[in-house]
């Protein structure tokens, strides 16, 4: 193993880890006696600087392809880099939101944990080996459990942390079990080797078992029904910046992983050893199994859309509302992931091996587009919720009453974020939905995908109701308390940045699309 090369490839992750350690040293060593304010600002700004450094390291080596050395396989081409850039930007935004928080004295630890989780997220996105994937996922998750329980004097936070941890441990077990079956089937943990082996041996019943276990494990991370039970409690109990982190960074990483697995693992590609006829025969048999494998994803998608949207209707807490809406959005994204059918109809399967621009590739970029813009919008929404919560002491709908008078800017921001989540043009949420759904229909014609897209569009109409329930309080109902709310200038800057991106990417959708396609 060439360590210099390894260091070069994992530079972004390494930078984040080093920054995390530096922050601990600075916070516990140098500014220990300083005021709380100084400590928060130092830690957050150092963290943001670390993200920026990692970002530049990432850009330096973008597009160098796959790094392959033993079991450490990291891809840094294609959608991976786009997802990683998104993860770093979102991490930086979350850290900036921390500046005005007061729920903990241990800011150094908090920021370090965020950075370590973020490096886990980077690893998960890039890894192409089951072991590395699992290590990355645990690095991401362990940080999240602690972050969730970080508000020590708030019992809800501890409860949320415990719930999240128990569910998470369970799902990790499922995932590991699935991975072990995959290993047993193919004798390798390398995704590409698994791909080749599976293609050579054709589908087997054990593969279904493995796939179901993997989907169950990842379904937890993306909060898909029926693995969603942790989400409302965690979103409600976790400190605002931790919740925003879970809702954005962790989501993006998990979707990228699910995309990788469904793309690379279950749809054989690449160079396959063996006589051409035999391989092609096996491939044909294999491609016929994909609709069945994807069927599981479609089931989860339908269940998530329905349960998420309907349960959100009766919520009275904005955080829980965001949790259920996240479940619904996970359903929409799963539709896109399920529409990864590379092979359809007659023609040589080999045509698709070299094609990276076909409908399936478009669908993958649409999924990433959706996940990234959704994460950005959610961070914005959580930022507003955090400010209002601090002013009123609660995230109940009624705390938002009369917000337009207390802070016209916050009200306008919430309007933008919620309408984007509901999919109203010209905001980015609408474009993301349109892009995703048209990609799904473009990849897979047929009555089932169409019915699911129709269901998704119809349920978006339902979602407008609950978003309007909050906006009604913000703009229509009078508030009991009319003292102005003044957000911290940094929070304000984050909000403005997020809202501006939501509007700009919505009005000029080609910008982000070309950027993703450019990697």
């Amino acid at each position: 193993m060439n360590f210099a090369e390894l260091f070069r490839v994992t530079l972004p992750e390494t930078v984040l880890e080093i920054t995390a350690l530096v922050i601990l040293i600075v916070d516990l060593g140098f500014v220990r006696q300083a005021t709380f304010k100084t400590r928060v600002i130092t830690a957050s700004l150092l963290g943001v600087a670390g993200c920026a450094a990692a970002l530049s390291a990432l850009c330096l080596q973008a597009g160098t392809g796959v790094y392959l050395d033993g079991s450490l396989i990291l891809a840094n081409s294609g959608l991976v880099t786009a997802a990683q850039v998104g993860i770093l930007v979102m991490t930086a935004l979350t850290l900036l939101l921390l500046i005005c928080s007061t729920y903990t004295r241990h800011v150094g630890e908090f920021v370090s944990l965020v950075l370590m989780s973020a490096s886990g997220a980077l690893l998960v996105t890039a890894a192409r080996d089951l072991l590395v994937i699992f290590v990355g996922l645990e690095l991401l998750s362990l940080g999240l459990y602690i972050l969730t329980a970080f508000a020590k004097h708030n019992p809800q936070s501890a409860e949320a942390g415990l719930k999240y941890y128990l569910f998470g441990g369970m799902s990790a077990a499922f995932l590991l079990m699935g991975f072990s079956y995959l290993y047993g089937l193919t004798g390798s943990t390398n995704l590409y080797a698994i791909q080749w082996n599976l293609a050579a041996q054709g589908p087997s019943p054990l593969l279904y078992v493995a796939w179901i276990l993997v989907v169950a494990g990842l379904g937890f991370k993306i909060a898909a029904v029926p693995f969603h039970l942790w989400a409302p409690d965690t979103y409600e109990g976790a400190p605002a910046s931790a919740a925003a982190f879970i809702a954005s960074v962790s989501k993006v990483a998990s979707f990228a992983l699910l995309l990788t697995i469904s793309q690379n693992l279950l749809q054989p590609g690449g160079l396959i050893p063996g006589p051409k006829d035999l391989v092609e025969h096996n491939l044909r048999g294999f491609y016929q199994t994909w609709p069945q494998l994807a069927g599981i994803l479609l089931l989860l998608a339908a269940a998530s859309m329905i349960v998420g949207n309907l349960a959100a209707l009766v919520q009275t807490s904005v955080r829980r509302l965001l949790a259920y809406s996240a479940i619904a959005h996970a359903g929409y994204i799963l539709l896109g992931i399920a529409a990864q059918r590379a092979y359809s109809g007659p023609g040589s399967a080999f045509d698709f091996f070299i094609s990276t621009t076909g409908p399936a590739a478009r669908s993958a970029s649409a999924v990433l587009y959706y996940a990234l813009t959704y994460g950005l919008t959610t961070i914005g929404a959580f930022a507003v919720v955090a400010v209002v919560e601090r002013a009123t002491g609660s995230d109940h709908f009624d705390s938002f009453a009369g917000l337009h008078k207390r802070s016209p800017l916050l009200a306008a921001m919430l309007l933008i974020f919620f309408l984007s989540l509901a999919g109203i043009p010209p905001l980015v949420g609408f474009w993301a939905k349109f892009n995703l759904f048209s990609a799904v229909l473009g990849v897979s014609a047929g009555s089932v995908p169409f019915a699911l897209v129709a269901l998704a569009v119809a349920l978006s109409a339902v979602s407008l109701y609950y978003y309007l329930q909050v906006l009604k309080r913000v703009y229509v109902l009078p508030g009991l308390d009319e003292t102005p709310i003044k957000p911290h200038p940094v929070t304000l800057a984050v909000l403005l940045f997020t809202a501006a991106s939501v509007i700009v990417f919505g009005c000029f959708p080609a910008l982000l699309q070309n950027w993703i396609a450019g990697f």
Binding site: A412, L419, I424, P425, P426, F430, F434, N435, F437, S438, L441, G442, A445, F450, V453, A454, V457, A458, S460, A461, L464, Y465, L468, K472, Y475, V476, P509, A510, Q513, N514, A517
Partner: protein, 500 residues
């Protein structure tokens, strides 16, 4: 040039949203200036476009990889409806002059709605059209929920959800048509010529048509309209009935009929005499005409009378569209224009001029107030508007309804019988409302008159608004050629291009 109507309105909305809260007069004048500028552009565009086929204003690639264009253009139908929007916007601002609560926000939402409406009428890219169509939903909600009256939150939510459900149906049809056509382009022309299969059109047509027709107040999806109109503040009611319902009818014409003409073909079998989607929607339109009129006859709230009359009048538009012949469809567009003006006028009189002074809309209470003596201006304005609305020759409504009747007769004389019933009941409910509200039998003694408090004088925005709307209706009624010359070639082109 007409594209500036959109830019001006949105710029005005943005400016007003940022305007200070404590300067209502500034907000009013700014909104009026923007609305008048929009009307000016609309009139200039209308005159410049006379005798011309379609003119393209802007055609930029918006999302090149998906073939989405920022394509703004206008043909005769668009020009007429843009003109209507301009007039309705100015009148709407004039009749909202008394809004004191959060004035700048009111006009910001108002102009955002207007901008969306202009955008729909001028988009020739299906995606862009849909974007503008959805932009118009949110301002409607807030206009009603914040500044409305009777059960405003319920009515606002109902309106928003009906609109959004309708637009979801449109979106599903749009996505399906786009994917089926190969996903190369979303312009209306490209999709029209994409050769969508008849079986696809057969199910896409009713889906998209119904989606748009919900906003046009088609029975049985009309229930948002009366509650929404009644709850909305006067300026918003005028827009809702005046132009927003036209958005739906316009979508039916421009998207559903033009894109999926084969969907109107006979099914090949007949069930209870119904043999195609065309008959289905024509029947729903006829039911709407008669049902709306009958329900209007039974209302006790003055504003509900006008609300249900809108349902009835929009039934004429949908029936005109379903005639699929030149004269009937021209009549439908004409009726959109005419009803836009007249519904605005009626709502202005009932909701603003009368209600602002009497503080009641109950016909039973108005009966005792001797309004013909105490508010002669309102009484005579309503007489004129009522006459025009029931289709008296000399006003715009007559030209429109006559053409629809002729078009319907060519298709099926039985339709005309139902229309006739609708028109008769229309006369009845207008007379009833007129008589109860203004010319009650209980003539006041001079003694009684002296003791009743004087109403506030009629203000200049009211006079200007009424003069504008009656003037337009009368002008178009006496000289319909000015609109017909613009509408007819466009309808002809649409019928030819749609493969009829």
């Amino acid at each position: 040039m007409l594209a500036w109507t959109i830019y001006l309105s949105f710029a005005g909305a943005l400016l007003l949203a940022l305007a200070p809260n404590n300067r209502p007069a500034l907000a009013r004048w700014l909104a009026l200036a923007v609305a008048v500028a929009g009307l000016g552009v609309a009139v200039a565009g209308f005159i410049a476009g006379m005798g011309q086929a379609r003119t393209v204003f802007v055609d930029l690639p918006w999302v090149p990889s998906m073939g989405i264009h920022f394509l703004l253009a206008a043909d005769g139908i668009s020009r007429v409806l843009v003109l209507l929007t301009g007039i309705a916007a100015v009148a709407g601002v004039l009749f909202s002059w008394n809004i004191e609560l959060r004035t700048h926000q009111f006009f910001a939402f108002f102009l955002a709605l207007i901008g969306g409406v202009y955008g729909v009428f001028l988009s020739f890219d299906l995606f862009l059209l849909f974007v503008f169509y959805e932009i118009a939903i949110v301002p409607k909600y807030f206009l009603i929920a914040i500044w409305g009256s009777t059960r405003r939150e319920y009515a606002a939510m109902k309106l928003a959800l009906y609109s959004f459900v309708g637009s979801s149906m449109v979106l599903i049809g749009l996505l399906a048509a786009y994917a089926t056509a190969g996903g190369h382009s979303t312009t209306l022309d490209a999709l029209t010529h994409a050769g969508l299969s008849p079986s696809f059109q057969m199910w896409a047509f009713p889906l998209v048509f119904t989606g748009f027709a919900i906003l046009a107040g088609m029975w049985p999806f009309h229930t948002w309209a009366p509650t929404g109109h009644v709850a909305a503040p006067t300026g918003a009611s005028m827009l809702l009935a005046g132009v927003v319902m036209k958005l739906g009818a316009y979508g039916c014409l421009r998207v559903a009929i033009a894109l999926f003409p084969r969907g109107l073909d006979p099914w090949g079998f007949s069930f209870l005499g119904i043999d195609s989607w065309r008959t289905v929607f024509a029947l729903l339109a006829l039911i709407g005409i008669v049902y709306g009129a009958l329900v209007a006859l039974a209302q006790t709230d003055f504003k509900f009378v006008i609300g249900y009359s809108s349902v009835s009048h929009m039934g004429f538009v949908l029936l005109g569209l379903m005639t699929l012949n030149q004269i009937g469809m021209t009549g439908a567009v004409m009726q959109m224009f005419s009803h836009g003006i007249l519904a605005g006028l009626l709502f202005a009189i009932v909701g603003r001029i009368v209600y602002a002074r009497t503080h009641t809309r109950q016909l039973a209470e108005l009966e005792t107030m001797h309004l013909s003596k105490r508010l002669p201006f309102a009484a005579w304005a309503f007489v004129i508007a009522g006459m025009a609305s029931m289709g008296l020759p000399g006003f715009s409504g007559f030209v429109a309804e006559l053409q629809i009747v002729v078009g319907a007769w060519k298709v099926n004389p039985w339709w005309v019988a139902a229309i006739g019933l609708g028109i008769i009941v229309g006369v009845a409910y207008t007379w009833r409302a007129l008589q109860k509200a203004f010319f009650s039998d209980r003539l006041p003694s001079s003694h009684e008159l002296e003791h009743e408090p004087k109403f506030a004088a009629i203000t200049w925005p009211e006079v200007t608004g009424v003069a504008l709307l009656t003037g337009v209706s009368l002008f178009v009624g006496l000289y319909p050629k000015i609109l017909l010359d613009t509408i007819e070639p466009a309808v002809k082109a649409l019928l030819a291009g749609g493969g009829q």
